[in-house]
Chain length 214, copies 2
C-alpha cells in the first residue's frame, strides 16, 4: 500500500495510526502542503486525488480518499485487531465520536479554510488563531461530555482496545496543543490521549517521527 | 424510532432520505435552529445531544448522533435495500463520496460557522454568501471529476440503486440551488440529483415536505 501523506496533516496522521495498529507496512509518498505553493494543488497530485487533499491510499489499482473511508477499508480488508466493535450500536457510537472530530472540528480548521480567512476575508493572525481554537473548544466540550458520561468509555474511547475514534482523537489533541488550547476542561480526552500515546503505533505515527517532518 | 430534525438541516435531510429508502416509519421531533435563539442550544436538547446539532436518532434506549453514523446504523440494523455495496472497495468509494460532502463542504457552511463569520468576524452578507458558494464549488468540482470518470457511477452515485452517497449529495445540491450556485459545471451531479428526486423517498424527505417547514 502507498499512502500519500504530509507529516502535519491530522487526517493523514489518523490513517498512519490505523495502519500501524494493524501492523501494515506501507510506502509513504510525501505531499508537502506548503512548499511549491502546495504540492497537493499540482496537476500530478490532482490526477491521483481530485480533492487536492491528503491522505490518499493506493492499494493495487485502487485509490481511496477520505481518511475515515480509508480506515474502514483497512479494517474490512484486515480484520485482525478490529478498529470498530462488532455490534451495530457500538459501531454507531465509535463512528459518531470519530465524526464529531472529522466533520465538526477538523474541516473548519483546515489549512485551505484558514488561508481563505486570511487571504480573502483579511482576517488577522490573532483572529484566525482564535477561530481555530474556538472550533476545537466547541467540539471538545461536546466530546468530553459524551466520553465522560458513557459507560462504554474505558481505557480508550470505546472499551479497552484502541479503535477508529482514538485514531481521530489523538491528532486533534495534537493540533489543540500546537495552538495552545487549554485542555484542563477535558480530562477524559487528555487521559485517553495519554493512554494512546503510550502505544508504539501512535508514537510512530506522530508528525515529529515522519521522514518529511521539518 | 424518533428523529430530532429541522426541515432545512441538510444533515437531517440525509437521514430522512435513508429512513424513507428503508421504509422505516419514524416519529419526528422538531428542533428549530433559529426560533428561541436556537432550540438546539437549549438545556433540554443539550441533555439529549451535547453536540447541540441535528439530526439525532433515538432507537429504544439508544441515542445516536452524526448523520453518517446514523445512516450506517440504520443500514446495519435494516439490511433490506442496502445503502452500501457489499465489497470493501465499493464501500470505501461510497463512504468517500459521502465524506467529500459531509466533511469537506457541509461543516464549513454550517449555520454556526456562518454566524461566527457574521457576529465575530463582522463579515458582510455578500462575503458570507460567497464563502458558502466557494466551498460548494470547490467540493462539487472534485466530486464531479470523480463521478464523471469512475465506471461505478451509473444511474446513481454507485450503481443503479440509491445509497449513502446519494443521501448526502441531494441535500447539498438543494443548498447549492438555494444559494444560487451555478450548477452548469457539474452535469453528472445534476443528473444524479434528478434521478434521485424522481423517487418518492427523496421527494418526501425534502425540506418543503416537512411538517415544520415554513
Amino acid at each position: 500500500m502507498k499512502l500519500y501523506t504530509y507529516f502535519r496533516s491530522s487526517a493523514a496522521y489518523r490513517v498512519r495510526i490505523a495502519l500501524n495498529l494493524k501492523g501494515i507496512a506501507y510506502e509513504p509518498a510525501f505531499v508537502h502542503l506548503v512548499k511549491d505553493g502546495g504540492q497537493q494543488l499540482q496537476e500530478a497530485y490532482h490526477a491521483i486525488n481530485p480533492e487536492k487533499l491528503v491522505p490518499c491510499l493506493q492499494d493495487g489499482d485502487a485509490t481511496i480518499s477520505q481518511s475515515l473511508a480509508i480506515i474502514e477499508y483497512i479494517d474490512e480488508t484486515h480484520p485482525e485487531a478490529p478498529l470498530l466493535p462488532a455490534d451495530p450500536l457500538g459501531r454507531a457510537r465509535v463512528r459518531s465520536l470519530a465524526q464529531m472530530v472529522a466533520c465538526d472540528i477538523h474541516p473548519i480548521d483546515n489549512l485551505r479554510v484558514l488561508r481563505y480567512l486570511v487571504h480573502e476575508l483579511k482576517v488577522s493572525e490573532d483572529a484566525k488563531n482564535e477561530w481555530y481554537r474556538h472550533w476545537i473548544r466547541e467540539g471538545f466540550a461536546a466530546l468530553e461530555t459524551r466520553l465522560a458520561r458513557d459507560v462504554d468509555t474505558r481505557r480508550f474511547c470505546h472499551g479497552d482496545t484502541p479503535g477508529l475514534a482514538d485514531c481521530v482523537l489523538v491528532p486533534q489533541v495534537f493540533n489543540a496543543r500546537r495552538l495552545n488550547v487549554d485542555l484542563a476542561p477535558y480530562p477524559t480526552i487528555v487521559r485517553i490521549d495519554q493512554a494512546c500515546m503510550a502505544l508504539p503505533a501512535f508514537q510512530a505515527a506522530q508528525p515529529s517521527q515522519q521522514p518529511d517532518s521539518e
